[in-house]
Amino acid sequence: MKKLLGVALGILTAIGGFVDIGDLVTNAVVGSRFGLSLVWVVLVGVVGICLFASMSGRVAAVSGRATFEIVRERLGPRAAGANLAASFAINLLTLTAEVGGIALALHLASSVEPRLWIPVAALAVWLVLWRVKFDVMENVAGLMGLLLVGFAVALFLLGPDWGELVRQAVPPSPPATEHVATYWYYAVALFGAAMTPYEVFFFSSGAVEEGWTAKDLAQNRVNVLVGFPLGGLLSVAIAACAAVVLLPAGIEVSSLSQIVLPVAQAGGTLLLAVVIVGIVAATFGAALETALSSGYTLAQYLGWSWGKFRRPARAARFHLSMIVALLLAVGILMTSVDPIQVTEMSVVFSAVALPLTYVPILLVANDPEYMGEHVNGRVVNALGTVYLVVVCVAAVAAIPLMIATGAGS
């Protein structure tokens, strides 16, 4: 019974922890402009993140080595250094977006100026990183994030024409009003949002934090293979809500209040309140994960002591880098930059940085010195190779598409 509860808890946290500000914003923007015609990208992205998150979790559980240690070991100091610079910058951008997201959601709930919420949000994030036990942190944020299911409830309450939604999704084709390049630009953005590299940094390091061993592999697999796809369904629900309400009204999403407009319309104040709590929890959880990831990547590349399971004084440089990352995020937000725009940038640049992280994971998952009998099977390797090609194409196409479409405008 206790074991079953553990499995259920793991799955629920994976669902609630899947959606972050990147998924929220990108899905709503895409839904309001393209209907469900890009839903296939979410599907491709979810399969990809399942594949590589479970692979990095397996490597960490079996060998005790987290993802960026492997990146450093396989790519050497130069290429891994380039990856570190890129990943750290994108991670900082994502952290900025998440902290901004918390502030925007609290602003919606309280009508207190977001800039007043930013330092409060960042301080709260730091206090949790400083003080709270790793599994408590992960479970509370994940379970509260489940409240985002309000988007799915709203979709049913809206009573959409389901046939029309399916027609938008299959066969996928860009709406007549949008340029093909813009369609592909958002396809790359959506893919980057689903496969953001910080998720594998966090997932593999979390496995080390929680002291996983080869015995926990089955649980790891179930969490990922059940939790992430259900989390992906939440993403689709967000896009579908936007497609039903915002697309016909010609509203292009540029603020959080527009993202939650369909929820307010369908379920009134009560459902809106539920979803706002969900957004606060989801962005707060993701802010924790990205702040930790900035510490993980730096510490693992340079061989520093790291981990929330140690006393902060026993992982001093790791904790100091997280503090610096949070201060930088607050500094960026205080320039009045729009967190929604920061988010849109961060998901596209995520797509650019993907290959340098995913190649070493795939290599090490096949290395018997690390993995013993737990090396990749043929199916996983075949899928992994296919995804490497997809990831490389997306990475190469991202910047040219961004320039050609004026960042999707």
Binding site: S63, G64, R65, E69, R72, E73, G76, P77, R78, A80, G81, W130, R131, V132, K133, F134, A299, Q300, Y301, L302, G303, W304, S305, W306, K308, F309, R310, R311, P312, A313, R314, A316, R317, H319, L320, E369, Y370
Partner: protein, 134 residues
């Protein structure tokens, strides 16, 4: 040792490829706490003098992070600024290099100790054990 050269060395009966099995690996202290990465290796003659090409040479030390900058950008750091772990402190070479001493006794740990003593240790709760609950 230059980045491009492969040094092979026998540990027990196992052949260890320096590039593949040593460089850029994590170094853990006797308690499993990360100390540094293997950023470079120092090679010396068996009598402790300069390694002479064509004659026998041993790995004498693991060289820590200040050398990383010059390994990426080129050049050599001055000897006084090098942080080393003597090879005699190495207990096991696996997917990580495990030492037989604690991190606090090593020179390479000084930045960690500096940040601990001057910054993180001074913030309230900095020495609190998170696993013990709040």
């Amino acid at each position: 040792m230059s980045d491009e050269r492969h040094e092979r060395e026998v540990v027990g009966t196992r052949v260890v490829d320096a590039r593949l099995h040593l460089l850029s690996r994590q170094v853990l202290d006797v308690d499993g706490e990360p100390v540094t990465t293997v950023d470079d290796l120092e090679v010396r003659a068996p009598d402790g003098g300069e390694a002479v090409p064509g004659e026998e040479a041993w790995v004498s030390a693991i060289v820590g992070w200040p050398v990383l900058v010059t390994r990426v950008l080129g050049g050599h750091p001055p000897r006084a600024r090098r942080a080393e772990v003597a090879w005699s402190d190495v207990g096991h070479v696996g997917t990580a290099v495990e030492l037989t001493v604690t991190a606090d006794t090593l020179d390479v740990g000084w930045t960690e100790r500096w940040v601990r003593d001057h910054v993180v240790g001074r913030i309230p709760g900095g020495r609190h054990d998170p696993e013990a609950g709040s």
